[in-house]
Amino acid sequence: MAGSGKSVGATTWPVTLATVIVLIFLLLPTLIVIPVSFGSEKYLQFPPREWSIVWYKAFFADAEWLAAARLSIAVASLSTVLATLVAIPATLAFSRGRLVGQGVARSLILAPMILPHIVVAVGMYIAFSRWNLIGTLPGFVAAHAILTLPFLFLTLTAAISKLDPSLELAAASLGASRFSAFRHVTLPLLMPAIAGGMAFAFITSLDEATVSNFLSSSASKTLMKKMFEDIDFDVSPIVAAVSTLIIVGSLLLVAAAQLVRRLAVRAPRPAATLPAARTQAKAA
């Protein structure tokens, strides 16, 4: 391995240089808001002349910002739960069932990921205006559940395809019903994927700005809508403080999800050797 790396190493310094430059281009603008948020003056400075946390204090003292944050967290939690509850049975139908019109159903579930978000947003805005769902919790939750569905579905489908169906078969031959085989064998094995998928769905909902922008009302807006308005109106350093909180929060959640997944992979799994050997044989 090390040898193969070295043999091409001599000719790759331009690639390495390009990689370093591109990574700086990726990271720097993303993280610049963090030092800026700790400035003390009304306009943004880098590096700040004086470090302070006034903008964080201002955020936590502002009722409108707090309401937006609470709404976003509620929407992200509920939409993640809703999407998971419908995605699990759907995944089972796809990978353990015989489904008529599988291709159409799959395209429909993945469509929110591919179709332009502006079109989805405007379509929902017009429909939800008629149904009086603009600026309401059910409206936000339904919209975000649909937008996070493709991620959950793909994560779960990938995870279930790695499970060996013979485990459920074994449970069934020992007298378990189909439901109890699912409940006691399949579901526990899927738990890490479900937890990971839910963490990512939560962040996707929290960060979603296009649809939220259209579905918010002046009385009830998500954090992203509130940020969008503040940025458009007057770039106050509170937005930098909120951005920092969101970046740190999202990354902690992603790290936690990855950790859960790693731990689950390392933990000994029942009958792990036999299915693994069989998959390898199939691949060969």
Partner: protein, 287 residues
């Protein structure tokens, strides 16, 4: 898909057609009411608001202004896609060549932006580029300029920021293919006397094409309908389809025209997916 069918076939105790239908019913109901109905409503608006007919489409496709905006949208998307490919490929290549800690470090650098809100990242560009922003302050202090430059609300700004936002998708698409190319192949090529570049050109590049196609299609499609970044960083001269549709919906309240423009954008996207959709590898995106 193939794996799913194989699983079902290998598992005689799997769910039958009726049970499968019950299992998929909740998700289909949710999508039918809150996704399909709103989209068909948009189609309905485009033909009926304010009068029955194709007047909105005549307006959308017959106007020089809207045609210019459509062409600009396609053009900007092409540039952004090309930029992400040129900038993303070396990163994906390096990521597939190194291992252990280095690989993790690069992955973290790519994933942090991916999991940071698009809005936050667009805002970061405002912090950098506004009149009293970091770039202008720096240039003023070093004496390179004596008047702040107008860096925001320009086409170039939108291109740079969109490239920044979409770059991780391209990198991960290409990387997912590159990492599956056996290392022995480039070793064999160099054993046979091929130089580094020749190995790349004749072995690695052709094998990585599925990842390139997938990344190009993904980035281009997202770019076509991208709203947040052009809305925040663009000005009146950089109006794109997405910002135009948004304007018609909430400012002009011309839902018929917004519907027709949406259908045009949707049609363009579906056409691309229909023609090249096989190249799209959605599995494991961003995770």
């Amino acid at each position: 898909m193939a794996a799913a069918t194989a699983n079902a076939a290998a598992n005689p105790r799997g769910f039958g057609p009726r049970a499968s239908l019950v299992l998929i019913l909740p998700v289909m109901l949710l999508l039918a009411v809150f996704f399909v109905l709103p989209l068909t409503g948009l189609l309905d608006q485009s033909f009926r608001s304010p009068d029955l007919g194709i007047a909105n489409y005549v307006r959308a496709l017959g106007s020089d202004l809207y045609m210019k905006i459509l062409l600009r949208t396609v053009w900007l998307s092409v540039i952004v896609t090309a930029l992400t490919l040129v900038l993303g490929y070396p990163v994906a290549l390096t990521m597939s060549r190194v291992s252990g800690r280095m690989q993790l470090a690069i992955a973290v650098c790519v994933l942090i932006p991916l999991w940071t809100s698009v809005l936050v990242r667009s805002y970061a560009w405002i912090v950098l580029l506004q009149r009293r922003g970091i770039v202008n302050e720096f240039l003023l202090q070093t004496g390179l300029i004596d008047q702040p430059l107008r860096l925001l609300y320009r086409e170039g700004t939108v291109i740079v920021a969109m490239t920044h936002v979409l770059l991780p998708f391209m990198i991960l698409s290409i990387y997912s293919v590159l990492r599956s190319i056996p290392k022995d192949l480039s070793m064999a090529a160099s054993n046979l006397g091929a130089g580094g570049f020749s190995t790349f050109r004749h072995v690695i590049w052709p094998l990585s094409l599925p990842g390139v196609y997938s990344g190009v299609l993904m980035v281009f499609i997202i770019a076509l309908g991208f709203y947040i970044t052009p809305a925040l960083l663009g000005g009146p001269e950089t109006l794109m389809m997405s910002t135009l549709i948004g304007q018609q919906t909430t400012e002009t309240l011309d839902w018929g025209l917004a519907g027709a423009l949406s259908v045009v954008l949707l049609g363009l996207t579906l056409l691309l997916v229909g023609l090249f959709g096989r190249a799209l590898r959605l599995e494991g995106k961003g995770i």
